[in-house]
């Protein structure tokens, strides 16, 4: 859409179109205000320069009328901008109910590790199908990073100690820059890669070409048994522990009276700091796995627990 403008980045996603539309409007408004302010300065500067013979009057203007006028106009214009921006942010904040694909990204100094649900792994590269709603779960192994795809106009910080999520829908095939935009140390500027948007058939072919035996959920199930989770949460266990089937995406009722959605963050916290989010009606016997599981282990476990719900699995 903007290939003819040398200083406009490529547009390859729904989010880019939304954000560009708002920005073009804002830049136009800015240009208008700048013309107005600079125009006044130049006009007055010429007209009322020291040497001009133009007659001046005694200064006794009643300024408050003007001031109330332009204050109101400014507030009104700003309010429109605020609403436009907030409205789009709202839309981009929460992924649509039905996603086609969930990707998992781990940031670490100084590389991106991308995992597909089928178990395919990539380093500094992300293959995604055209037109699909893709939800991304972000985790960091060390410091704060930020995943930035300029052609999608999207970025989201990758914060250690929690899962962050964002979503996109690519609208144009091709390969695009993927960057880290939060300073993360010496090679911050080299924490770059490419996003490749492919037609769905090509993407499916690419997935099979990777030749992966085990899906993320299967790896998660192996961990689930290895760490003894199945001893309590497995079917047929005689320990009184909540079942995980259908947990992901449901509402969990906690012992302290809160009701929270069992999303990625909740599941992560339950594994690492279980005492803070105990489910009502169960004894506090769940041990913490803090320090025992890597970010990738956590992602595998998450993928397994997600697979136990109808959820967003493709």
């Amino acid at each position: 859409m903007h290939e003819w403008v040398p200083f406009w980045p490529r547009n390859a996603a729904l989010s880019a179109s939304i954000i560009d539309t708002i920005n073009i409007g804002e830049f136009a408004l800015i240009a208008l205000i700048l013309v107005f302010v600079f125009g006044m300065m130049i006009t007055f500067g010429v007209r009322y320069r020291h040497g001009s013979a133009r007659p001046r009057t005694a200064v006794a203007e009643r300024s408050w009328r003007f001031e109330i006028g332009w204050t109101s106009a400014t507030i009104a214009a700003f309010f429109v901008l605020f609403v436009l921006g907030a409205n789009a942010y709202l839309f981009l904040y929460e992924a649509p109910r039905h996603q086609d694909l969930e990707l998992y990204v781990v940031g670490k100094q100084w590389m991106w590790k991308i995992e597909h649900p089928g178990g395919q792994r990539e380093i500094d590269a992300m293959h995604v199908p055209l037109g699909s709603t893709v939800r991304v779960v972000l985790a960091s192994e060390d410091v704060i990073h930020s995943l930035f795809i300029p052609a999608f106009r999207l970025k989201h910080d990758v914060v250690p100690g929690q899962f962050e999520t964002f979503w996109f829908r690519a609208t144009r095939t091709g390969s695009y820059q993927l960057e880290c935009s939060e300073f993360c140390g010496t090679q911050h500027a080299h924490m770059r890669g490419t996003v490749t948007v492919m037609r769905p058939a090509a993407y499916a072919r690419w997935l099979t070409d990777q030749g992966v035996a085990e899906s993320l959920a299967q790896r998660g199930f192996a961990l689930f048994r290895k760490y003894g989770c199945s001893g309590c949460h497995g079917t047929g266990s005689d320990v009184h522990a909540p079942s995980l089937a259908g947990l992901y995406g449901s509402i969990a009722h906690l012992a302290d009276g809160r009701a929270v959605r069992a999303d990625e963050r909740y599941i992560r916290d339950c594994i690492l700091i279980p005492q803070t989010q105990r489910v009502a009606g169960y004894p506090p016997v769940m041990p913490s796995f803090q320090g025992q599981l890597s970010e990738e282990d956590l992602i595998n476990l998450l993928a397994y627990i997600q697979s136990l719900s109808e959820g967003p699995r493709p």
Binding site: P9, V37, I75, A86, A189
Partner: protein
């Protein structure tokens, strides 16, 4: 008036000439000059880092400097420019010199505290120079955790100590200004007769007093986590990395207003004087300053829109960000309309001040784009942000600093600066600034992140343009150093009131005598009683000058 009599007395510069008469002085004017020396040194330290950064970025492969060195340089540039130049620049130099003079006082309320503040500043400056020489620090001036507490290899503690001590200097000076403005105003100098510069410094001082302690706490917590391994910000120790950002920006966003409100004060003085008419909407200007200061404390979350804060806080912070922009817009309108029905002299201070208005307007408007939630997702942490805040802090504050320096130069030194050179430098700085930073808006929109020592080759053109602009800017900044220095020795001798201005500081000799005034002035007039019909004015002590 007895300016002629004052000329016969010794000026504050001529009273004594020993080194100890400077190092142990209690005179706010001498301390202002000593601050001027300190911040000028740091301005060129920070500026040389910027020069190296721009030189390095000419080549997309980034081969001039090692990445470690590049990261240390932009960190040093940020730390030095923010805490050792911008924050003290106008308040500690012009504010120190002018606040007592503008309100008709003999000195600040606590002269010894003022001197102590200068020593604190220099101690912190020495610590800063120490950490620079032993290897620097590579966290960025923002010290984001857990990078700064666990992973950075530089001298984070030394840098934190430097900024920590620096904060106490800021607090001491701010306290002094607040008390002085409350207690030492000359008879008749009511609040609504205060020059806008005094209002600006007063309001800035309140922000300094309330915000700076939070920075000290935050840095202390970083040091505790780094030295003792107590989990505060590091999630693997049970801390919360976003807590740091909340605390840091709770200080650092108001700090933006610490940097820019004094500049607004300077520009208000200059524009009205050179337009030869009262400033438009004086009271509106006062209220705008106060409301910026108050609302400015509630917008810090707009630095964190992509950091994973809740939807509700994002929406609230965005709305408050738009609200805080309203009083700034009012000020721009008022300055502009002050040019209407005026008799404008385009001397160097006026050129700098008009440059401020233009660049500040661009900086402010692009700030609106960043405050717009959806737009910020794309622009956060890119060069668009870099360009935006340089327009505010360099295009804005530094331009105003130079406006003030030229405007009050004759008052401070008793000498005229060479006018042609002053105008030339003002235009050079404006052009150099635009060429340096306008391309960075484009770079940011194209998706170039901040703090990259190497970048995709297709962004080179804009980077080269920006670096070319920086070389113009560098010449622009070196020029005043030369011709202002020259004027100290060879400049034409200035009279008490060369700009025919209304403020009390102009109703005494240039340079002023030791305690500023022979007799305490009686204030009978509001500020800025200029008449555009014939250029006459009534000074604040009630005397009409044809």
């Amino acid at each position: 008036m007895s300016t002629a009599a004052a000329d016969l007395l010794q000026t504050y510069l001529g009273e004594e000439h020993t080194i100890s008469s400077w190092l142990l002085t209690h005179d706010h004017k001498r301390i202002a000059l000593m601050f001027f020396g300190s911040v000028t040194l740091f301005f060129f330290v920070g500026g040389s880092a910027a020069t190296l950064i721009r030189l390095h970025l000419v080549n997309p492969a980034g081969t001039l400097l090692q990445p470690e060195m590049y990261n240390r340089l932009f960190t040093m540039h940020g730390i030095v420019m923010v805490w050792f130049f911008l924050i003290p620049s106008i308040p500690a130099t012009l504010g120190n010199f002018l606040i007592p003079m503008m309100i008709g006082a003999r000195d600040l309320a606590f002269p010894r505290l003022n001197l102590f503040s200068w020593y604190l500043f220099n101690v912190s400056g020495l610590v800063a120079l120490y950490f620079l020489f032993v290897g620097g620090v590579d966290t960025g001036w923002t010290f984001y955790t857990p990078y700064s507490t666990l992973f950075a290899n530089g001298h984070v503690i030394a840098a934190a100590v430097a900024v920590f001590i620096n904060g106490f200097s800021t607090i001491a000076t701010a306290l002094n200004f607040v008390v002085t403005t409350h207690k030492l105003r000359a008879p008749g100098m009511t609040w609504f007769r205060l020059p806008l510069f005094v209002w600006a410094i007063y309001v800035t001082s309140i922000i300094m007093l309330l915000a700076t302690p939070v920075l000290a706490m935050t840095l202390a917590l970083v040091a505790i986590e780094r030295l003792m391994g107590i989990g505060i910000f590091d999630p693997s120790l049970g801390g919360d990395p976003l807590l740091f950002q909340h605390m840091f920006w709770f200080y650092s966003h108001p700090a933006v207003y610490i940097m820019v409100l004094p500049a607004m004060g300077v520009v208000s003085e200059v524009i009205t004087c050179f337009a030869r008419r009262p400033v438009f909407g004086y009271k509106g200007m006062c209220f705008a300053l106060v409301s910026i200061a108050v609302i400015g404390f509630f917008v810090w979350g707009h630095h964190m829109f992509t950091a994973g804060i809740s939807l509700l806080s994002a929406v609230v912070f965005s709305m408050l960000t738009f609200i805080v922009a309203v009083p700034s817009a009012i000020k721009v309108f008022n300055w502009t309309v002050t040019l209407h029905n005026a008799r404008i002299h385009f001397d160097a201070p006026m050129l700098y001040a008009l440059g401020f208005v233009g660049l500040f307007t661009i900086g402010g408007l692009t700030g609106l784009v960043l405050g717009t939630l959806a737009s910020d997702i794309h622009l956060q942490d890119t060069y668009f942000v870099v360009a935006h805040f340089h327009f505010i802090m360099v295009g804005g504050t530094v331009s105003a600093y130079f406006a003030g320096l030229h405007y009050w130069w004759s008052k401070i030194t008793g000498k005229h600066y060479p006018e042609t050179w002053g105008r030339f430098a003002a235009i050079l700085m404006f052009v150099g600034f635009i060429v340096t930073f306008a391309p960075q808006f484009i770079l940011g929109y194209l998706g170039m992140p901040r703090r990259y020592y190497t970048y995709p080759a297709d962004l080179q053109t804009w980077n080269v343009l920006s670096s070319a602009g920086a070389s113009i800017l560098a010449v622009g900044y070196l020029l005043p150093l030369c011709y202002l220095g020259w004027s100290l020795f060879y400049g034409r001798k200035a009279g008490p009131n060369p700009w025919r201005a209304t403020g009390l500081e102009w109703q005494t000799s240039s340079p002023p005598i030791g305690h500023n005034f022979l007799r305490t002035p009686q204030v009978t007039e509001p500020p800025y009683q200029y008449d555009p019909r014939d250029g006459s004015y009534i000074s604040q002590d009630g005397i009409r000058h044809a």
